[in-house]
């Protein structure tokens, strides 16, 4: 396959990052439920146990708090563990380990101990999985000092950001959109690269309105930008890629340039990521905004099972398009 055409799915890109890093550094291991022979229910890790063995790709009991705790301790004592939390909804079970332990160890010890670990998990609805298997809880972690929060939106970003996460000396939580794993393909070069945290990516340049999208909502924003183009509106699509650290500068500059912004994130709209980013833009681009910043997140309801209901809870290309058209009208 010619290099320029090298395309991987999102899942393949994640797997490639893991495999390359595990080859490079023998202190990396993976903990999780059904991560070994099964390669996780999402089949993201398929093949890793064959290469690295069950000593490094480790099936655990259904003990999210338990194996996360093990990872924290292992990270403090010379390893670089990667933890797999199957559904982001199960993060409710690891809050103490991540927030009271992992995030604080370095600071509480006056910089003596550190916790270089990565937690990989998922977000996103529309899989007909209902209220306990569809949440996008990344805002909680973005709120907590000591953690870094990564939200890749393309295979390329997934690989580069995951490598950075693994090499980081701090606890990093890495959210993957379940719906992208096998559906989203994109170019991933074969040579080594990493992507720094805190650097937003301009996924598409534009002049009339800024669409800030995260994770699953980047494709939605791009789709909306296509629709907007058809009616003569030029949308700039920005992906912060990490919610912490957050690249405020790029967000503010874009909104200042276009004078309008919509922030789209699949977490709940209230007290979530859209609030922070909208507040940052509203403050930083205050004197250049023509319209109030508009926020679009998941509807403030537990995610329903019934397909027509569930579909109504998340922003879509169409709803983003409508909102943008109204703002530019």
């Amino acid at each position: 396959m010619p290099e320029a055409n090298r395309e991987l799915t999102f899942a393949q890109a994640v797997r490639e990052a893991l495999a390359e890093e595990m080859r490079r550094d023998s202190t990396i291991c993976i903990f999780g439920e059904d991560v070994a022979e099964a390669g996780t229910p999402f089949k993201v890790l398929s093949g890793l146990v064959e290469e690295f063995g069950t000593g490094r790709v480790i099936d655990t009991p259904i003990s999210e708090a338990g194996f996360t705790g093990v990872a924290v301790g292992a990270a403090m004592t010379g390893m670089r563990p990667i933890v797999d939390i199957m559904f982001g909804d199960f993060l409710t079970l690891v809050m103490d380990q991540m927030v009271n332990q992992a995030a604080k160890v370095h600071y509480m010890s006056g910089g003596e101990w550190k916790v270089p670990m990565v937690m990989r998990t998922t977000l996103g609805a529309t899989r007909r999985s209902a209220a306990q298997h569809s949440q996008s809880l990344h805002a909680w972690f973005s709120h907590v000092p000591g953690l870094k929060v990564v939200l890749p939106s393309t295979p390329y970003d997934a690989k580069g950001l995951l490598k950075t996460a693994i090499r980081d000396e701090n606890p990093v939580i890495f959210f993957e959109d379940k719906m992208m794993h096998h559906k989203l393909k994109g170019h991933v070069p074969s040579e080594e690269y990493t992507i720094p945290f805190g650097v937003a990516d301009i996924k598409r340049e534009g002049t009339d309105i800024t669409l800030v999208g995260t994770s699953s909502m980047v494709q939605v924003a791009l789709g909306a930008a296509d629709l907007l183009k058809e009616i003569g509106i030029s949308a700039e699509v920005i992906d912060p890629r990490t919610t912490w650290p957050l690249d405020e500068k790029t967000l503010i500059e874009s909104a200042s340039k276009t004078s309008r912004a919509i922030v789209i994130d699949e977490g709940y709209g209230r007290y979530g990521v859209t609030a922070e980013i909208a507040a940052v833009i509203a403050q930083g681009a205050f004197y250049n905004l023509d319209k109030p910043v508009h926020r679009m997140g998941a509807m403030h309801v537990p995610i329903p099972f019934s397909p027509p209901l569930e579909d109504a809870t998340v922003p879509t290309e169409q709803t983003v398009f409508e909102a943008a058209r109204k703002m530019c009208g």
Partner: protein, 332 residues
């Protein structure tokens, strides 16, 4: 404190009507689940389906030991529990298809069926997620002195969740009328329980001083006998119980889990299906003892088959909820 009951004591003779009733209920679950599999395969069912086929004797044996007003909590593999406690197949199918007529108006789906009229506090998609709820229901039974017992069904995978131990400690300290029913079907999703479970399962109940028993989960008479003992004891105020049922799921973890050889052998599946099928075990027993005949059993099956077809029909033809309902029921 722990005793192993492979078969019910011969003196606890179970009435014929009860046996027939249990047969009927197990058959209902079996045929319900076969319809689910069919719906899923025909792409009519959204989401995932975790079938209870093979484990019918557990839900039925336990629920037959309960009263209608007693509580249960259930799991992601919950259709059997719901049916055993008395839910109607048509409204269940409707829920599975996300229809307005479903038990939860389509908002819950397969993993969240709940039904106050039969004391079903709800299935739960968090492993061990309902242990607290069941224990709390037992707390209120005791507090309100209404004589109800709560049963918490969970797979052996839930033994990995710490909250189970917190709840068992509370239940025993406060002598709550709750029965923890562990369905050990040997696998979590794709991992054998011996890889996830150190020590002996019953010892985990013993550790908290909880009365416990282990039983052949394919023998509904044995399950019923053990469950009755623990339920009666709990109702009498003597505290919680723990019932370990050895069982097996015939199909994949969910309907889409087709290639299973990497985690379990075909011949193992064959063994359980042919030698230890709970419906066959009870049928054979009744035939051997002359309590029924082949044609009566066939009639039961035929009747339930048409009931299930009608129920599916109902559900398939039911309307979805109106989109405006999406933000109703968030707050009471």
């Amino acid at each position: 404190m722990s005793t192993t009951t492979d078969r019910p004591a011969e003196n606890t003779a179970i009435k014929v009507e009860k046996l027939i009733d249990m047969y009927r209920r197990m058959m209902s679950i079996r045929l319900f689940e076969e319809e689910v599999s069919e719906l899923y395969t025909r792409a009519l069912m959204p989401g995932l389906a975790h079938l209870y086929i093979g484990e019918e004797a557990v839900a039925v044996g336990v629920c037959e030991a309960l009263r209608r007003e007693d509580y249960i909590t259930s799991t992601h593999r919950g259709h059997g529990h719901c049916l055993a406690k008395g839910a109607a197949p048509d409204r269940m199918f409707a829920e599975l298809l996300g229809k307005e007529a479903g038990y939860c108006k389509g908002k819950g789906g397969s993993m969240h069926i709940a039904d106050p009229t039969t004391g079903n506090l709800g299935a739960n998609a968090i492993v061990a997620g309902s242990v607290g709820i069941a224990t709390g229901a037992a707390f209120s039974s005791k507090y309100l002195k209404n004589g109800r017992v709560a049963v918490c069904f969970f797979g052996e995978g839930a033994l990995g969740q710490g909250v189970l131990y917190e709840e068992m400690n509370l239940a025993q300290l406060w002598k709550l009328p709750v029965i923890y029913v562990c369905e050990n079907n040997l696998y979590t999703e794709y991992t054998h329980f011996s890889e996830t479970t150190a020590g002996e399962i019953l010892a985990r109940a013993t550790a908290f001083g909880i009365q416990n028993e282990s039983v052949d989960g394919q023998d509904v008479r044995a399950v019923f006998a053990s469950a009755s003992k623990l339920v009666d004891r709990a109702r009498a105020g003597e505290g919680p119980g723990f019932l370990l049922c050895d069982t097996y799921r015939y199909a994949g973890h969910h309907v889409g889990d087709i290639n299973r050889e990497y985690y379990r052998a075909k011949h193992e599946e064959q063994h359980w299906k042919t030698q230890r099928d709970p419906i066959k075990v009870l049928g054979d027993h009744m035939l051997k003892e002359g309590l029924t005949d082949v044609s009566s059993l066939a009639e039961i099956q035929a009747a339930i088959t048409s009931e299930m077809k009608a129920a599916v029909e109902f559900a398939v033809n039911s309307p979805y909820p109106r989109v405006e309902e999406v933000d109703e029921d968030v707050y009471a």
